[in-house]
């Protein structure tokens, strides 16, 4: 009797599944090569980005040395240029908050803004500080260099005045620390590349899940909130122009914030599509993976919808005043509209992409409700 019932169920369910299976849109056959995705991201994006940052920081180190030896206007200009180049390069690295970078809080050491001028001044005069303490995150990295290079009315006088050696010491220490951290992370990447690539399982700590979660986190916080939302006053009600990235450089009529934001968005788009850091070749990526899973969004593929949304965010940022500070002061409404365009990708990434990848967030027990 029981056997008969079971056979009947089995036959019924199989019959049923054959009937409707073909019409289903989400026909998953997961044979995707996750290792090749991780390999592409590691070898063609993360490592080249880090190596590039390293190069740019080495150039910064040289110009810092030159400026230390002779603090004149020429050397200052070179130093500012190398700072900007390294800052641009940094935009390609910030989203990879993985491994040692995460352990040492690299992201916050390198780019916590606005910087804390009181803390910086105190550190310079006391010469007693621990850059590894989170209290000092806003007194180091690119934003602090921005202040040290662009924040004084007469920098040449500061770096030749009575406090010059203290200022130069601090400058040198910061650059050294950034370079050392970068080197350490590169070394760790080189030795941990293999385990990174082979960690393809679906758990909260596997490479792919971490990478994806970090990417979304970066898009939401590092990019959307920090670069656009906070300065536009999205979270405070009134605009906060002093919170833009590279604030002091902008004050001197440069367009750095916008350039950095665009560079960051390009890096985001390249990561999503698996485009190599230094050329236009394309490897396996989240885009491919979503396509492989056949994730659809109103008839279009989800990856296309995401890319279109990124593109419209890029267009909106391009249309802004080259100087974001002027934009905020003259027409902040346009910045708020731009924020909405950037924001539009967040539900797509956090709901539809995560849902399609069904990334395991192994937090606590769940019974699916």
């Amino acid at each position: 009797m029981i056997k008969k019932v079971i056979t009947l169920f089995t036959v019924a369910t199989m019959f049923f599944s054959c009937g409707s299976g073909k019409e289903s849109l989400n026909d998953y056959n997961d044979g995707f090569n996750r290792a090749s995705l991780l390999q592409n991201i590691a070898d063609n994006i993360i490592l080249p980005s880090y190596n590039n940052l390293n190069q740019k920081l080495e150039a910064l180190e040289v110009s810092t040395n030159n400026f230390t030896n002779f603090a004149n206007q020429n050397n200052l200009e070179q130093l500012r240029l190398d700072w900007l180049n390294a800052y641009l390069s940094w935009q390609n690295v910030e989203m990879f908050d993985i491994g040692m970078a995460e352990e040492i809080d690299f992201r916050r050491k390198m780019n916590a803004y606005p910087c804390n001028v009181t803390r910086i001044s105190l550190n310079i005069s006391s010469e007693d500080y621990d850059l590894n303490s989170s209290n000092h995150y806003s007194a180091q990295g690119f934003p602090t260099l921005d202040y040290l290079l662009n924040g004084f009315t007469d920098p040449i006088q500061v770096y030749n005045g009575p406090e010059s050696s203290k200022h130069l010491n601090y400058l040198n220490n910061l650059v050294q620390d950034m370079l050392t951290n970068t080197n350490n992370i590169i070394n760790e990447w080189n030795s941990n590349r293999e385990p990174f690539i082979t960690s393809t399982e679906n758990t909260a700590t596997s490479s792919l899940n971490k990478l994806t979660n970090d990417f979304i986190f970066y898009y939401e916080k590092g990019f959307r909130a920090n670069k656009i939302g906070i300065p536009a006053g999205v979270f405070s009600g009134s605009p906060l122009p002093q919170n833009i990235e590279a604030y002091y450089h902008n004050l001197n009529n440069n367009n750095t914030s916008k350039i950095l934001a665009l560079e960051a968005l390009t890096a985001i788009m390249k990561f999503f599509s698996g485009i190599y850091f230094d050329n236009t070749s394309e490897g396996n990526s989240l885009k491919n993976y979503l396509n492989h899973l056949n994730a659809l969004e109103d008839g279009d593929t989800l990856s296309n919808v995401i890319i279109t949304t990124f593109n419209s965010a890029e267009t909106a940022i391009n249309d802004l005043d080259d100087n974001l500070m002027n934009q905020i002061n003259n027409n902040n409404y346009q910045l708020l509209v731009t924020y909405d365009k950037v924001q539009a990708a967040v539900p797509l990434l956090k709901i539809d992409m995560i849902g399609s990848l069904n990334i395991d967030v192994d937090y606590i027990d769940a019974d699916g409700d």
Binding site: F16, S17, P347, I364, A366, D369
Partner: protein
């Protein structure tokens, strides 16, 4: 009719199933509490968050900070007492109260199996689980080898209610016609050895498991009740729950269901288990063997029978309350909880809040991580009562900060069972104007498609 009821109430059976159930329940609870503590979840769930979501009607439950550890200790101790059958009645009451209080402290971690434990432990308060093979026997120097049949049957009935309502909930088009959400979940288990890359990817497996799960839930109570299919049914219970344990992060629930299902076996089987236990504890029991224990008749208490009748009427009706709301219950979730709706949906949301200062005609968005942990934010984002409760918390918070006249709007997107994300909460509705109630929540936008 009444004579039949009376006859039933006065019919007796061997009490050993109750003793085995008591020991199994006590040990499972102890294990469950130790596991929860060991994983650091007490800290993470009850202490770290600055704001706690509360159940409707239980907003008065105070968060007690580190004091929650005392509740867990109480819970664990009473579980030990229950296992031993030592001061059983006070122990099970303590367990019920402390466990339920813990659950009421934070709605974010609502799980059907925690609710099951609350309900079951309430039921157990009224059942003589210490009538035999317990330390209480040595204290009172009495035991009852026979107990009324209704005592064991009410545990069986509770289990049947859970299974059958869980099965009924699976009769919906997503589950049966689309094999959702299993079609989303199973392929992502590609990393399970042997079946991950093969069976879990097969369309027919998704359908077979959807239909199989529904039929399992609906039929297993009957297969367990019927003597000739009982052993087979129990093997099925073990297989089903172990399999779900492998696939999903559902903690101790599978084990609790497996142990509980033993209650369906007859006294012979339970006596056999007790005999094994007696051999294990032989050295201790020898010391107590001089105590003379009298067998006394256990009498049914009419009041208890009335309490349990009301209890079961409630258990049968509460899961049906969703019938008074229109629309897809998985979408609006009105009447979703306390209804044995398990593993039914894959739901993801993204919800932020716009605070409008009506005086200054300014607005800003809240960064949820300022107030919520990531798990709270995740849960809040797709459940309407959470969204409303959080909006009111934000309202209070910002009024305390000096904003006098504010309105709060939700910018909310939710995806259900793989559908594209769609707007969830009416963005034109000032949530501060809404009070939570059993009234239909019209500010939830209807599910398209």
């Amino acid at each position: 009719m009444t004579t039949r009821v009376k006859q039933y109430i006065n019919s007796y059976t061997d009490s050993s199933p109750l003793a085995v159930f008591r020991i199994g329940f006590g040990l499972m609870m102890l294990f469950s509490i130790v596991r929860f503590w060991n994983k650091g979840w007490i800290e993470k769930i009850y202490i770290e968050p600055s704001f706690h979501f509360k159940y409707y009607g239980f907003e008065w439950i105070n968060s007690i900070g580190e004091g929650v550890y005392i509740l867990f200790i109480l819970c664990a101790l009473s579980a030990c007492f229950i296992t031993l059958g030592f001061k059983y009645r006070p122990a099970i009451i303590t367990f019920f109260l402390s466990f339920t209080y813990i659950e009421l402290l934070e709605k974010t971690v609502y799980l059907n199996h925690y609710y099951f434990i609350c309900v079951l432990s309430f039921l157990l308060i009224f059942l003589p689980l210490n009538s035999s093979f317990s330390l209480d026997n040595f204290i009172s120097k009495t035991k009852s080898i026979s107990v009324p049949r209704w005592t064991i049957d009410s545990i069986k009935l509770m289990l049947c209610i859970v299974y059958i309502y869980a099965g009924l909930a699976k009769i919906n088009s997503d589950w049966l016609i689309e094999a959702l959400p299993l079609k989303i979940w199973l392929p992502s288990k590609y990393d399970i050895p042997l079946i991950g890359e093969t069976l879990m990817q097969e369309n027919w497996v998704h359908f077979a498991m959807s239909w199989g799960g529904m039929l399992y839930d609906l039929l297993i109570p009957f297969l367990l009740l019927y003597k000739r299919t009982r052993t087979f049914a129990f093997l099925l219970v073990v297989f089903f729950h172990v399999f779900t344990r492998v696939l999903f992060p559902i903690g101790v629930f599978p084990y609790i269901m497996i142990i509980s299902a033993l209650i369906f076996f007859d006294a012979q089987f339970h006596k056999w288990i007790i005999n094994i236990l007696k051999i294990i504890i032989d050295p201790i029991s020898k010391k107590l063997s001089h105590i003379n224990i009298q067998n006394v008749k256990f009498n049914s208490n009419k009041k208890i029978i009335w309490v349990l009748t009301i209890f079961f009427i409630l258990q049968l009706t509460i899961p049906l309350r969703h019938l008074s709301y229109n629309g897809n219950i998985m979408w609006h979730e009105q009447g979703y909880r306390f209804s044995w709706r398990v593993m039914l949906m894959e739901k993801l949301g993204y919800t932020t809040f716009k605070i409008v200062d009506k005086d200054k005609n300014q607005f800003f968005y809240v960064q949820n991580e300022d107030f919520l942990t990531s798990y709270q934010e995740k849960q809040m984002s797709f459940q309407p009562d959470f969204i409303l409760e959080y909006a009111h918390f934000l309202g209070k918070n910002f009024k305390n900060q000096g904003y006098d006249d504010i309105a709060i709007y939700a910018d909310s997107y939710v995806s259900l069972n793989g559908r594209r994300n769609q707007r969830y909460i009416d963005p034109e509705i000032d949530l501060l104007e809404i009070k939570d109630s059993f009234e239909n929540k019209k500010w939830i936008l209807p599910l398209k498609k």
